[in-house]
Amino acid sequence: MDYITGQFLVNLLMNGILIGLIYGLMALGLTLIFSVLGIVSFAHGEFYMIGGYVVYYLLQAFGNLEPMIAILIAGAVTFVIGVIFELLFLQPMGKGDIERPGEYAILLTFGLAFFLQHVMIGIVGPFPTKVDRFYDFAEIDWGWLRMKAATVWFFDMPISSSRLIATGVAVVLTALMIWFMSKTWTGRGLQAVSQDRQAASVVGINPSHMNTLAFGLGTMLAGMSGAALVTVFAWVPWVGMPASSKSFIIIVLGGMGSMPGALLGGLVLGIVESFGAGLYPDPSKALAYKDAFGLLVFALVLLVKPTGFFGRKL
């Protein structure tokens, strides 16, 4: 246990915060979908995966494409897929044709996840790919802050530059999303629907359009987070499964349907995983249980306070 020093703990915390912000971005779309449609999309990770692949193939085809534009295109592609799926499969839920919408949505999105993942295995193949970091950092040495192309040392603590870029994208996207939800007419419409469907429809908002829009936006956010993270992690068609389960954990931690909650939940999950893996006594199992720590916290929160930190009543 002699490796546990103050510096070590600070490093763990920092790692947890960085990855936590990224996790938060992953879950943002899911929480939006939940707040408006009241369902959890089990195919969330698959949209995340598709977003990453869109960027990968765009950059393969047009090598000098500005990465940020590639991210936007990835968002557009996943938006379209999400909207099509919503129109074809989720619309009947809003119309009351479905006996038990909650269960229907769970099973349906589960099927979609299965479908998309295997379609991608068929199309792109099962071999890992990865996109190199979008931008190289300049070389700097100021003592407390050193930078090289791939790494930044902040008080001697190494931080991957691609991770920093992804975190930046995450923060910008989250800010944009919160602005969109609170300041634009459409965003307020979404919020109105998420709070009271009937009242919203009385004041002239078409809830079923809002459903479609919310699902599309949710999948778009998933796609964009995948697009931003394809430089951080190696990419395979089943990369979405862990992303999905992390997103579930996060939205439950933060409170289903709450956007700031998603960010906070992401941070909590990142920190819990980081400290869990860093401090678990048996080193050979520390990493093996990394996912289990998050799941355990998740299960406990579900049991003790299912509404999470910011959640509304069940």
Partner: protein, 363 residues
């Protein structure tokens, strides 16, 4: 009840077929083995249908109970030299015990929350089995003592068949007893059921216990027959297979769910390669490179579709949910069984619809 003779006849025919299967498939142990495995899936799907379709508890932990029972039996056999039979019994009890725990923890959780919690539980179980490899064998898997010291599948086929029939009979009896009635009322409306005097807590837990014990016995039996278990079998995609089988069969009928499982298991085997008509062959031959690009390949008159059958499967699950909410097999069975009654019911429904309309205009 008078109205099910057709169904009854069908059932008997089906049973006769099932018992005659080894005879029909003489010299083809492969199909016998496939059938044997399909019975395992049928038990899983039917017990999940009881839990989800009757009691309304959409749990994803079913495969974990299967794993718990199998691993308990396997480890007892390895470390304490227990015979498979006693191992299976204890494994099943263990699954039931964990079922009590999970059922109790899940009392307050509904729908999405329940699904998420049970997924987490199931993953934690798998991660523990994987990580504690000194004890469980971990990813290297665990040898399970064979149930019978024979390489023929005939006796094991009958064992699984009888296990399936007995478990279906037990579940059918439950579904049609007071307990089934209460479970369905809980599914429909917990609060109203409680107001009608139904002990919601007890029956919810009971549903978990019974179904997880059936999943447990199915798993323990099957893995003793295979002789080996690996944690890969507890992965969530395997659970989705169970769910898809039950959904495509029909979650509100045990027999439909189990027939769905058997049907899908056979279909998945058959779909490994699709026989391609000779007339297509020349054009397909020219495109061999394209085919291989997508993980397909062409044998003599066959198209390899290993990866793509999963795509088909996912699509089928989605379409079934969207357009045939009672599954594909259940409506079929109902149609056969209710021919005489159909008209009467339609008339009644029409009547009540009219009444509905009257009220609609008034409100």
């Amino acid at each position: 009840m008078k109205r099910i003779p057709i169904q009854g006849v069908l059932l008997v025919l089906l049973l006769i077929f099932a018992f005659a299967f080894p005879r029909i498939m003489q010299g083809q142990p492969y199909w016998l083995y496939v059938a044997l495995q399909s019975f395992f899936w049928a038990m899983m799907a039917a017990s999940w249908a009881l839990l989800a379709g009757y009691a309304g508890q959409f749990s994803f932990a079913h495969i974990a109970f299967m794993g718990i029972a199998s691993y308990t039996s396997g480890i007892l056999g390895r470390d304490l030299g227990w015979s498979p039979i006693s191992g299976i019994i204890l494994g099943t009890l263990m699954a039931g015990l964990v079922g009590v725990l999970v059922g109790y923890l899940c009392l307050r959780l509904r729908r999405t929350y329940l699904a998420l919690f049970t997924i987490a539980f199931s993953e934690i179980v798998r991660l523990i089995i994987n990580a504690e490899h000194e004890f469980t064998g971990g990813p290297m898997g665990l040898y399970m003592e064979p149930l019978l010291e024979t390489t023929s599948y005939v006796p094991t086929y009958y064992i699984m068949l009888v296990a399936l029939i007995v478990s279906l009979a037990i579940m059918y009896a439950i579904a049609n007893s007071r307990l089934g009635l209460f479970l369905r009322s809980i599914r429909e409306d917990e609060e109203a059921a409680a107001a009608m005097g139904v002990h919601v807590v007890r029956y919810k837990i009971l549903a978990f216990v019974i179904t997880s014990m059936i999943a447990g016995i199915a798993g323990a039996l099957d893995h003793h027959i295979i002789g080996f278990i690996a944690p890969n079998e507890l992965m969530i995609p395997r659970m989705s297979l169970v769910i898809a089988m039950a959904v495509i069969g029909g979650t509100e009928s045990l027999i439909s769910a189990s027939l769905g499982a058997i049907f899908i298991h056979f279909a998945m085997e058959w779909l490994q390669k699709i026989p391609v008509p000779a007339s297509w062959m020349p054009s397909l031959r020219e495109n061999t490179a394209t085919l291989q690009q997508f993980g397909l390949s062409l044998g003599e008159g066959y198209l390899q579709t290993n990866a793509w059958r999963m795509v088909l499967f996912g699509l089928m699950l989605m379409l079934t949910l969207r357009f045939w909410r009672n599954g594909l097999i259940q409506p079929l069975l109902e149609k056969i069984g209710r021919q005489g009654v159909a008209e009467e019911t339609v008339a009644k429904r029409k009547f009540s619809q009219e009444e509905n309309e009257i009220e609609g205009t008034e409100a």
